[in-house]
């Protein structure tokens, strides 16, 4: 690593993406497991791209760690990361996301979003996005939120006759929909009811 204080993942995954290629990564952590995802992606060829999504649904006393390191090493690489999840029970969740843009990596577009919902007072979510930019012509954005299920949506659904419990499940499905991989909708909807 030329830049940044990020320590290389010890037992994680690492990828190199060559010129013109797109790497798609998708992670799902379901209730019942404590897990760490540790992934480093090097965009090493011009025009390389990364599309990463991650979803966690965690309850009980589960621990979830998600670390991503995306290194834009050359010009015109794009990366998009969307990490969303719901923490209930006494789940302990932490997201660390580092984006490094190397000197000269102009035309970089890097987007990182991490949004979390907590369902209980005992669940804990920490989110630590970091940008390290050493190039000039760069479009980088990152956003992180930790919130609760919205009262407005819940009331809207209940006013249409959807019972509170079911409305909350629909609301959670709505929240995570952008990170639910195709073909796993039903499995994930069923897992939601365990939170």
């Amino acid at each position: 690593m030329g830049h940044g204080k990020y320590i290389d993942p010890i037992c994680g995954e690492s990828y190199k993406v060559a010129a013109g290629e797109t790497l798609r990564l998708s992670y799902v952590i379901l209730p019942g497991e404590s897990r760490s995802i540790d992934v480093a992606v090097d965009l090493t060829g011009e025009g390389a791209a990364l599309e990463l999504t991650a979803l966690y649904l965690s309850g009980a006393d589960e621990t979830v760690r998600i670390r991503t390191l995306v290194h834009h090493r050359v010009k015109n690489c794009h990366s998009r990361q969307l990490i969303k999840g719901i923490a209930g029970g006494s789940a302990d969740v932490r997201f660390d996301g580092v984006i490094v843009v190397a000197p000269g990596a102009d035309g970089t577009e890097a987007l990182q979003e991490n949004h979390n919902i907590i369902l209980s007072d005992t669940a804990k979510v920490e989110t630590l996005p970091q940008l390290e930019i050493y190039a000039d012509d760069v479009k980088c954005s990152h956003g992180a939120t930790v919130g609760r299920l919205g009262e407005e949506e819940l009331f809207y659904m209940r006013s249409r006759g959807i019972p509170e419990k079911e409305a909350k499940v629909l609301q959670m499905l709505s929240f995570i929909s952008p990170v639910v991989p195709e073909g796993r909708e039903e499995e994930i909807a069923a897992a939601l009811t365990k939170l």
Binding site: E153, Y156, S159, R160, I162, S177
Partner: protein
Amino acid sequence: MLEIKNLHARIGDKEILKGIDLTIGKGEVHAVMGPNGAGKSTLSAVLTGRPDYEVTEGTITFMGRNLLEMSPEERSWAGIFLSFQYPVEIPGVSITAFMKAALAARRKAQGLPELKAGEFLKLQKEKMAALRMNPDFAKREVNVGFSGGEKKRNEIFQMAMLEPVLSILDETDSGLDVDALKIVADGVNALRTPERSSIIITHYHKLLEYVQPDVVHVLKAGRIVTTGGRELIEAIESKGFDQF
């Protein structure tokens, strides 16, 4: 059908409704008009059980039941519907999925069997056609990226699907152009039967040209200050609310 007596309600420590009396009979359309801040939206919030609004005094009886003891979903099952002034976006949930869940829950509460998928889709198609909505609309995420007019039309579509006994239209006419307004009015009029009633909350008279109310109330500073017939609409149009 609906009897409101001496209703006082507040949000936080601010009292907004200060003693409302209102009786609505079967088959009647009532307009509630009033300036901004009069308490019109609070009235619709209290009728539908929105959290954060606290009723401090008074009673509401709906078809013989104590409405204030019912949850928002129970009120919906009993036949109350609110067309929201600001419909809420629900990303990732299609209109079809949303209405399916709503209808299934209500039929279950009423002890009716769930509609078969084909029956549901047929019903949905019919209601959309009546409101001149593109069938593709059903696939869209609830209110996401909808224009103001589309949102209001979606409210009326949901109303048509749920066939409420009492419809409350909260500023449904605001932000609509004339064509959309006519479609909305047609939707409201289509539900006008001797069994169903509506409350139309508005500070304009526009919608009331198309949906003619039986009774008009003027709400000001948390109280109904005047009740009359359609002649009140004209009086408001020419002289505003200050005369009351």
